[in-house]
Symmetry: C2
Subunit: 199 residues, 2 copies
């Protein structure tokens, strides 16, 4: 910091105090709530610049500043440090990415290449279509996934949206805020699965 030479601006050097990765936590929370750095800064009463630098771990905010920022969304200081970030790896699997695991008369195509750390398995079964799901915004503790059979699905997970068409599939940690919407004119069919709450 004392030498603002152009070569000194290393990208996230993971220095001696990278102990907790506050930046990543803040960024994920902000993105989950669908706020831009400026929008959050406005709410918090700080500048957008400092939010950028915090997220890049280029500075360690004072707890006063961190508190102001967290007041932007309903998260207490204690929760911020406790919060274990829901894994947000690959969410959308295109039709071509499904792995064929059953090669008989009954076509079974698996969603997700490896099942490590997964609570369940999703299969695309070529049978009668699944249920129709209206718009919802639930946040129960589980994982869920599914495949679109017919119609067009607009899936929103953590401030990010996709339009899924027949053959496309999804899988995500449902602690992330999510939402299903039928944006087509024909009925929407999905094959979905969800980890049982008692399992």
């Amino acid at each position: 910091m004392s030498t603002p030479s152009p070569a000194a601006t290393a990208p996230a050097p993971a220095g001696p105090e990278a102990e907790f990765n506050i930046g990543e936590r803040l960024r994920r929370i902000r993105e989950v709530y669908g706020l831009s750095q400026r929008a959050l800064a406005r709410r918090a009463g700080v500048t957008n610049g400092i939010i950028s630098m915090i997220e890049l771990n280029r500075t360690s905010p004072s707890v006063a500043t961190l508190k102001k920022i967290l007041d932007g969304f309903p998260i207490a200081l204690a929760d911020f440090f406790t919060f274990d970030l829901p894994a947000q790896d690959q969410v959308v699997y295109r039709a071509a990415e499904l792995v064929e695991i059953g090669g008989g008369a009954l076509s079974l195509r698996q969603v997700g290449r490896n099942l490590r750390g997964r609570a369940m398995q999703i299969l695309h079964e070529r049978i009668a279509p699944g249920a129709d799901t209206g718009a919802e915004m639930l946040t129960h503790e589980a994982e869920e996934g599914g495949v679109v059979i017919r119609g067009r699905l607009e899936l929103t997970v953590a401030a990010q949206s996709w339009t899924l068409e027949p053959g496309d599939a999804y899988y995500f940690d449902s602690r992330l805020p999510h939402r299903f919407r039928n944006v087509g004119d024909e009925p929407l069919e999905i094959v979905s699965a969800c980890t049982p709450p008692s399992f």
Copy 2:
């Protein structure tokens, strides 16, 4: 802060960012662990001055600094903000401070003037003496109190020590580290009470 005039050094002005009282939390934790500001600073790798200023709420530490300090004792960042400080109001009641509530043949003298927020009531009964308690350092979740009948008791609660003589009494949140010690040459007698763990 910008004007270091002698009149401007107000004692804990409770300014616009007194939101959380980090200073008091830190000071109490430090005193509970029986550390001086310098001893803690040495462990944490900071200076004693900054600890003083934090405890006086004269500055808002960066979370990096706060983390270094909390590493001094086994407390995580999340716990620091969650921790509800055990009430540490009056601990020692001198013989003259006991309130006489029963005025009959059986002398009942109450420990503590008001019982608001208390889990139990302590009475000094003029009967056969209580049990003899050796040195201990327990930290069970309860409140306890008692009265010294005979002998000399050295009571240590949260890095603070008193010597109690017959007639003196005590009452404290036993989540605070505490310790009884017989420092006299005659047998020690105490009337003590404790909230039942199932009540």
